[in-house]
């Protein structure tokens, strides 16, 4: 996994609540057995005017001019500004894969759905929870200022606006450590092999039927 330390990125706003993972990456693209290449199909049903299927040449498909991410001013954005309960629904990790492949490295919202939130950390994306009133303000500022950027510092746990205003955010110590260093959990967990084996031994004595 890539590490995440700081990011100074162009912000794109997606102004709707409860954006679900079916919308982030529709099911027909889940048939892939790979981890990469989902970016061109991120938000496929909103982004294109035609119906997308795997294997199409996405560069030739008609873009939906009304979809916010298609506006020229948001091209190259790496910070996604979203509303409450972002990433709800299906557990598909294809959603963070698609967002990362599209170019988003940080997502700011008042709240996220649990599984999606978790999946982001496993892929080097930083999901940032900020109060709804701050998110409102950021939406206003993005709308008012073309080229609006935010600076994210994971070590300091801050998001800073172009005017220098800074907002603190929370992040679990363990997740922060993994993200800062680009560590994946499996390697870390395997350092605890002895503990797992010891637990397993005790568990087997207590509930032997679990090991039939």
């Amino acid at each position: 996994m890539d590490s995440f330390t700081t990011l100074d990125g162009l912000v794109a706003p997606l102004d709707r609540a409860n954006v679900d993972t079916d919308a982030i990456i529709p099911k027909q693209f889940l048939k892939s057995i790979k981890r990469s290449g989902f970016g061109p199909n991120a938000f496929d049903e909103w982004r294109y005017l035609d119906h997308g299927e795997p294997g199409m040449d996405n560069s030739k498909r008609p873009l939906n001019p009304d979809f916010v991410l298609n506006q020229p001013r948001y091209q190259g954005a790496s910070v996604l500004l979203a509303r409450e309960n972002f990433g709800c629904g299906s557990s598909r990790e294809h959603a963070p894969w698609a967002l990362l492949d599209y170019g988003f490295h940080a997502i700011i919202a008042p709240s996220f759905a649990d599984i999606f939130f978790n999946n982001c950390f496993k892929n080097g994306i930083l999901p940032i929870r900020l109060e709804a009133s701050i998110v409102d303000k950021l939406f206003d500022e993005v709308a008012a200022n073309e080229g609006y950027r935010l600076a994210v510092d994971l070590e300091k746990q801050t998001v800073t606006t172009p005017s220098g205003e800074s907002f603190a955010f929370d992040v679990d110590a363990h997740r922060k450590y993994c993200l800062l260093n680009g560590f994946d959990d499996i390697g870390l967990t395997l350092q605890q092999v002895d503990k797992i084996k010891a637990f397993e031994g005790r568990h087997r004595i207590k509930q032997p039927w679990l090991f039939n």
Binding site: D15, R16, A17, N18, D20, D22, A23, P26, K27, Q28, L30, K31, S32, I33, K34, R35, E45, H51, P54, G55, R83, E84, N85, C88, G89, S90, S91, R92, E93, P96, S111, F112, A113, D114, I115, N118, N119, K122, N123, D172, A173, H174, R175, D184, D185, I186, T189, L190, Q192, K195, I196, F199, E200, H203, Q207, P208, W209, L210, F211, N212
Partner: protein, 468 residues
């Protein structure tokens, strides 16, 4: 000793190690696997030169991509076929038990686990699928995980997790006739919203829950995720134990007695405290119908599509306006005036034998309305299908004009050939009415199996309580 919740007990009995910030390593007893979220996990495992930690904990089944029509020719779509073959190959390579597409025991992963007794009380159960919450009906701690976590569990038999807060959803009293576990689930979501359970593990309790069958409890826990909670659960009682007795994976002989004695402890202690409590009166719950594009956009069947004036705030107003447009509905339209094009009875929410019996009891001796282009019944597993056929339910459905299909996820998410065309409106017993969920431009209304069958016959939504 302080009183503990069921969730406390399940959590504490699986902690391998806990960090000072509360991040814990949790031991996993049962790992269910399907074809969509596992290929990249197996690939990662192989690239790292690892093998599954405990192969006996894994049960695999293809369900999302399988056709629900004749399977003798295999899967026509080459990409779907490759995904199912990849699962077959991974299972063969590592010696994982798999119920293949043409196995009688094949079915939706959340139907077959309990059906086989592979989901037991006191277990931790994970699957790369959000509706893993279903298995909590057995007083198991069950939740959906992402593909990286699938790989993590394969490699280490553990999951890195933090304890959630505990919510109790208490439903007391008796349900009206025609009102089901599905209606309880939708009513709860209508009340607390799709993010209302975020950060919580929900325990469903109260006399109305205890009166539910295991099928009903599974329906309810299945939809805990639609309320934002990763896990839902119900305490063990006689209903749980009776259901499990004699299942293929259930403990036998003297192990059974020991297991039952332990399982009986799997309930919240008297006086245990919850971080949040939500109470509903069972008698107040109406048959529910979703009108919009999120499960929280739901009203009673006698209700109307809500008016913008009722919206909580600006963001919700925007959501509702988009939902009206997508659903092709206007504010204040009576639910019973909404005509449908298709009916889907199936999915891990409502495709068990009891669901099919309930739907068949409505369809019996009737005909699907002329305006309904397709009404399909997709049993949750091969065994459910066989049982239904033994009871003659297939005949009731076919005589009424329903199609009777092979088991799988089918039109719940339309990864196979079953889908809605743009603009088509469907009464569905599944769990998500998101935009495009059942096919691009498709319009989904979530209901119970009884309500879906009644809508099929009437051609529009009707109140199943008045149904003759």
């Amino acid at each position: 000793m302080t009183a503990k919740t069921l969730y406390d007990k399940l959590w504490e009995s699986h902690v391998v190690h806990e960090e000072s910030d509360g991040t814990a390593l949790i031991y996993i007893d049962r790992h269910l696997v399907h074809e969509v979220t596992s290929p990249q996990a197996f690939e990662g495992l192989k690239l790292a030169g690892r093998r599954p930690w405990r192969v006996g904990s894994i049960l695999a089944v293809p369900d999302h991509n399988v056709p629900t029509t004749d399977r003798s020719q295999g899967i026509a779509d080459p990409i779907s076929r490759l995904q199912v073959e990849t699962l077959d190959n991974n299972c063969a390579e590592f010696g994982v038990t798999e119920f293949k597409m043409n196995d009688l025991r094949q079915g939706i992963v959340h139907v077959i686990g309990p059906e086989q007794g592979a989901t037991l009380p006191g277990m931790t159960v994970v699957c790369g699928d959000s509706h893993t919450s279903t298995h909590g009906a057995f007083a198991a701690l069950a939740h959906g995980i992402g593909t990286s976590e699938v790989e993590h569990v394969l490699a280490t038999q553990c999951l890195v997790a933090k304890k959630s807060k505990a919510m109790q959803v208490k439903v007391e009293g008796a349900l009206q006739k025609g009102v089901t576990a599905k209606d309880i689930a939708l009513a709860v979501i209508g009340k607390i919203g799709t993010a209302g359970g975020t950060g919580y593990a929900i325990e469903f309790a109260g006399s109305a829950i205890r009166a539910l069958s295991m099928e009903g409890r599974m329906t309810l826990c299945n939809m805990a995720i639609e309320a934002g909670a990763r896990a839902g659960m119900v305490a063990v009682d006689d209903t749980t134990i009776d259901y499990l007795k004699g299942r293929p994976y259930s403990p036998r002989a003297e192990q059974w007695e020991n297991a039952v004695a332990y399982w009986r402890t799997l309930k919240s202690d008297d006086g245990a405290s919850f971080d949040a409590v939500v109470e509903l009166d069972a008698a107040d719950i109406q048959p529910q119908v979703t009108w919009g594009t999120s499960p929280e956009m739901v009203v009673g069947v006698n209700g109307r599509v809500p008016d913008l004036a009722q919206a909580r705030n600006e963001v919700q107003r925007g959501d509702w306006e988009r939902a009206y447009a997508y659903m092709g509905l206007q504010a204040n339209t009576a639910i019973e005036d909404i005509a449908i094009d298709k009916v889907f009875i199936g999915s891990c929410t409502n495709s068990r034998i009891e669901d099919l019996r309930a739907a068949a009891s409505i369809a019996k001796g009737k005909r699907v309305a002329a305006n309904v282009k397709l009404a399909m019944v997709v049993p949750g597993s091969g065994l459910v299908k066989a049982q239904a056929e033994k009871e003659g339910l297939d005949k009731i459905f076919k005589d009424a004009g329903f199609e009777w299909r092979e088991p799988g996820c089918s039109m719940c998410l339309a990864m196979n050939a079953d889908r809605l065309e743009p603009g088509e409106r469907c009464a569905a017993t599944s769990n998500r009415n998101f935009e495009g969920r059942q096919g691009q431009g498709g319009r989904t209304h979530l209901v119970s199996p009884e309500m879906a069958a009644a809508a099929a016959i009437a051609g529009h939504f009707v109140d199943v309580r008045n149904y003759q």
